[in-house]
Symmetry: D2
């Protein structure tokens, strides 16, 4: 009980992520600290004077007391959804529409159809969004605005913005879309278009830096757990040697696979993610591990993120084909086939139960937690734009809605899951699966 003798942690200076503004007289924002974790080093560090590290902070979202756009009743706004589907898109679009109409009585809200392509208005004319037209869209999955990949054409966007006199532009999309959104923002600056450009980050992979989680992620985890349940039921009920393999999304980051596996409790025996090397055979190999599990309890279940084992597949590709051309190989199918071969090799037989939920994970309507988050994002996006902020993205950091400058957001996204962090350690503890990382570390120590 000698806490008072312990070194008092100290907080460093605040480094504020400044958001650009259209106004020459911008409001003074409240702030939200991003870094809340202070590592202490006990007695061994008392002798040396520890330098407190900088604490990052973001602008807090709040209803602006002063509006940049003065006559809101003449304002025109536009909303667009880009890239793949994600639970909650309709909820965010709806919240933006309702806030613009109910709180600011703007003249018109346009829904751009089909992503960036929709700025070419001949093919996909913009919809007019009203409280009535968005009334029940949040009960449906997908995006009623429709979406597409790529297709940004700055000239067409410019033409659209001037033709429809848009002052506020809300863009829902992932990394690439955000980079595009920032180009639009810069273009508006250069050409003196007085438009507030706001991004709302969307990803089913939860791989956006800084924010607590991306919208729709809880819903996706719920759906992914249903697929794990399917594979479990099949593997568990089949003799001999049922093995379930579930392919989940996660090109760069394994959050979805890890969270779904963890949420499923002990139902999963192994998880393969992009952040941890995939080792098939040998003492740390996943194949003999799965075989041991099957021996113990009669069946096993393995979750594979689609981006796992890139290094493995590339090595195999080089060896086998002498070709190193970068393409994303289907790791889950590869693992499935290797499991079958491995059982065959050791004279056993397995019943493979392969489950690829694919679109069913992302086409769901948002669940309660995501619904609420989407409302907060939509409202925060409108508040920020009405205050005159621009070139920013809206997200939740430490349970507060904040504004993040787009360049800062895209600089470190996609983020990865820390294989030494809490989630992955709990995966290892729950599954007991071999950890190639640990070995690497201990080898380094020896």
């Amino acid at each position: 009980m000698s806490q008072q003798e312990q070194p008092q942690p100290r907080l460093g200076p605040i480094e504020v992520a400044t958001v650009e503004t259209l106004s020459s007289d911008p409001p003074v924002p409240d702030l939200v600290l991003a870094d809340v974790f202070l590592r202490q080093h006990g007695k061994q560090s008392t002798d040396q004077q520890q330098q407190p590290s900088t604490v990052r902070a973001f602008y807090a979202s709040s209803k602006p007391e002063r509006l940049y756009f003065s006559s809101t009743r003449q304002l025109h706004a536009a909303v667009v959804t880009c890239g793949g589907l994600c639970p909650g898109l309709n909820n965010v679009v709806r919240a933006i529409t309702l806030t613009l109409h109910h709180e600011y009585h703007v003249q018109r809200v346009y829904g751009i159809q089909g992503g960036w392509h929709g700025f070419n208005d001949k093919e996909y004319p913009p919809m007019i969004l009203t409280p009535e037209s968005v009334d029940s869209v949040h009960h449906q999955g997908g995006s009623f605005l429709r979406t597409s990949r790529g297709g940004l054409d700055l000239d067409k966007v410019h033409t659209f913005l001037t033709k429809y006199q848009i002052s506020l532009l809300f863009i829902l999309g992932g990394d690439g879309t955000h980079r595009g959104a920032y180009k639009v923002h810069e273009h508006c600056r250069t050409t003196n278009l007085d438009v507030a450009v706001v991004g709302i980050p969307k990803t089913i992979d939860n791989d956006i830096d800084y924010i607590d989680r991306s919208f729709g992620f809880h819903t996706a985890v719920e759906a992914a757990q249903a697929s794990i349940r399917t594979a479990l039921v099949e593997a568990k009920c089949t003799v001999p040697n049922g093995i379930g393999v579930i392919k989940l999304m996660g090109r760069e980051a394994g959050f979805l696979a890890a969270y779904a596996a963890l949420g499923s409790g002990g139902d999963v025996d192994a998880v393969l993610v992009p952040e941890v090397p995939v080792v098939l055979e040998g003492p740390d190999g996943i194949l003999p591990f799965l075989q041991r599990r099957v021996l113990e309890k009669g069946y096993a279940v393995c979750v594979v993120a689609e981006g796992a084992g890139q290094e493995l597949l590339e090595a195999i590709q080089e060896t086998e084909q002498g070709s190193g051309n970068k393409k994303l190989p289907p790791i889950a199918e590869y693992v499935r086939d290797e499991i079958i071969k491995f059982f065959d090799k050791v004279g056993s037989e397995c019943r493979m139960k392969y489950v690829d939920p694919s679109y069913s994970v992302r086409s769901q309507p948002a669940n309660a937690a995501d619904s609420l988050y989407c409302i907060q994002l939509g409202t925060g996006a409108v508040y920020g734009a009405m205050a005159g902020y621009t070139g920013f993205s809206v997200g939740r950091v430490n349970n507060r809605i904040v504004y993040i400058p787009i360049p800062q957001l895209v600089a470190t996204s996609p983020r990865f899951m820390n294989p030494h962090g809490e989630i992955w350690q709990q995966i290892l503890s729950t599954t007991g699966q071999p950890s190639p990382l640990k070995k690497t570390q201990s080898e380094a120590e020896s």
Copy 2:
């Protein structure tokens, strides 16, 4: 209002499907008519004396007033699940167990593990089923007894039946399993084993003749509809030209695909089933039809039963590879690729959204309607066995639980969906898809 002048329809003689019995003094069963539809032919048939057709009838299940097995407290029973999973397996096993214990206080109910393999008791020792051990199994999908394909060994079954003194044997499984069950029954007859052998027909494809529907089918349709919804959301929300293709089970019969498509209402544009030839191109082709739909409304959704288009694929196989070896080709993947090619050929581009729900359709727990049905099946199976009937299967015909002699059941199973019947006609009416059948018919008439 001249109904009285119409010819009075007449009912023909009753043809009863007689169930074998262990008893020399069998009970007199009540009957359930199987044929309830009387076709009338109006005035044009009045002059000719129409011969009334035979009316088939099955033994009605009921609680036996007289039991074949006298001292039920010494009775041993066994239950086994064979083949693929299906919603409701646990419910049926549970109902059998509860009825045996609660109504007849039998000494022991064995759960054979892992299908026919479980009769070799060393590898998979039988479980002892009690009301407590089956208490909540009906809330889980799959089969807690586990299952497998094939593996019937009459000697091992014989050894098991004598070793464990089994008097009642309940076998859940499909066509093949029922053929096996009848072999067991005949073996028992030959070797004077006094065992009532009862089959409970299980199929996710609903392709068993005579019965109203197979257990688990409602639940499977519900799950299949969820997959259709997924593909619809993706196709509808993607520009340009989103096309959803959903692969559903149905090797010989398209009931699941047809019911799920119909239940989804206008969400489906085309359904391909084994019963109707698949035509890809030309005026009746599914490819130009889907393209037209995409032109009209921006997207299209197509459901493909796994057994559809056999004749087409075989023809292609022969043409392209010069090989006619019978194997089930993956039609859904083939159609998916052909759609992409077709759009490409006509200078367009489509966004393919392929959904294969696979195991998720059959690993669900039974829904309310199926739960109830499973209870009735389990109870009926026990009643029939206790009455001394054997070599029969239990099913629902015209909403009554009946006993069907296994030879009669397997003679005409799998049954097919009538392409001139109500369901398929409603598919055609709902989707407006081209109907190769109709053309063939009209061609024949000309």
Copy 3:
């Protein structure tokens, strides 16, 4: 094996339920037998010549080859939903609308708003129903046409039918509504309005005679089971002496309570329905029975249909208040309070978990099984009307869609659950609850 010696059952003459028709030259319908159960009486009846009983038959629904209404492109139809909500209303209305438009290309389909009240078009102007406007209504619960109780005014209906030139009128509703529909039909006859009047029977209680089940019933049972689960979880997890009481709909018939209890398996300890007298205390009393259950396993769950125990409550009312005025007393609340008092009286204490799902049972969207049924009903209703039949109701009998003359339908509805039938006997067998009926019977015999 002496079946051939058994008396051959014989079928009696067919009694066809003749449907009225607008045409002087009506089509000759196919028929569906309603009575499929043949009771046999074994040897004891061989000596006496048994008279075969009449077999009832209904007109089978089918797509008419000849239409009563010749120029369908000028036809106007109207649909109305009356009475309380029920899963599937939107599905039926949608199926009627789609069939009228897609198969007959009628000029106009009106949706009457708010039940009978909507015929007074000033307050609730009729909606125009198109394939587009009903596109996704089947994914929502309730009735998008809205509904109300009572309010039939023949003059207003007459004015509406003539003003809007309605030739086909589809009325969804219960007993009362059907009586009203028949009055409309008779009125049309009297006033020479050439209108086909079709009823589609709707009841959450499944208490309509002849038909296999009412639409929405499967969905309602599913929802009711969720409530039973809630009460079970609460009762089971609470010490000491958790008791769950679930109030379910069922004013005259206990089908919903019985089916939900049965489908929940052994989760329910007792079911109280209108068809079986409620006895509280004494050897057959439900109160000491529940207390015994609580002693045995720590908790108990009791389902109460809202119409149960009328005779008990009336007797109590008379005794206690000297007043015999007919009003439906809240039996579930009464039983709840009596359970608490009884435990108190015997020196124990119970934790009451009372669950009243009320509207949640009937406001669900239709599940897969009901969706399909609704499509068949809607299509069948249109087929019948187009053929010129009128004053009939559409339903499913032995898995076939048939037309039932409204007078015959309402004559014996609401029907009751047979307390000596299969369902109730399985309730008794599953729950082990005391059966006042049995006692009464045996007393009568002595």
Copy 4:
């Protein structure tokens, strides 16, 4: 773009919430900042030197490098669940059990049955919890350990702890339970029982201070939204003047009502919570507001937290009955009746659709988001206890699992929803309902 001229915010000193420890040489914990929101006041505050406020911090949970309990293989632990049910109880108990067994290989984990009562081991003998016995409990709602209210007897707890040699005691419960847990902790201290006592806060009302949210809350909001949907469907589909009233939990705080209403989007017209005075009539009255809504769109939906309007009911009680005895009156029923009376008074009529989901909100199995949270709580609880911390509760603060001293936790719990905070402001913005608070404030200003 003159952010650099703005006053730089400053962070105040850190105030660490010190957790008690059994060890004389406690570990040095990492810290998590609790206060992340920095209010800035713009130019008006530049002249005055603003004092930076204290920043609170909690001990971060982490896997201890040094264990207080050395020979873990001889350790005995116990878990108990107290108070009402809540989604996720089984998940937390399971995570505690698995972590103790898998990571520390403790000798025995006891599950105390039925809350505090279970420490009297004769009536409710403790269960032995193993990885097998808890394998699938997380798929069920409720608490498989069962629970009860009250019943803490320190002597019995003492006897139990010594008899079973418990070193780690995990207590899941609400405010009252935590106060009891701290008494147990103090008792252990006083009597030199070397027991780590850990609380895991449980509340369906989300009214525990400091933490991001309480476990099970997301699941409860999901279930509550289902009830809102039921009332909406009924009110919307009924003519004339359908009004839905939904009673939700929330004795002291309206989080559940507010979150569920917000998550339901525009489906709710008014929300009554304990934190905001309920005004029935007059310009700010809820009754005329609801009537206006009904006039506008034909129906209205109102959510009532069970603890709302206490002041109103007490005032009415005093006036009408002259009695001021404190008892929680049924506000939702009161509001329901007043709505009916109000419509009656103004010569109109309403169709009341009253929905009380009661137990269905809290008896659900945990959804994906809550499942994950429960695993983190359970693991964190074990880590803290193994490190030798005691008298603390485990929770999530700014997305990190932390240890909160129980006295600090209970000092400010239940917390209230801030009626000037983001959530309530969004309720007002979404619903447009009158805000008695605003009026009061502006009145105060005038």
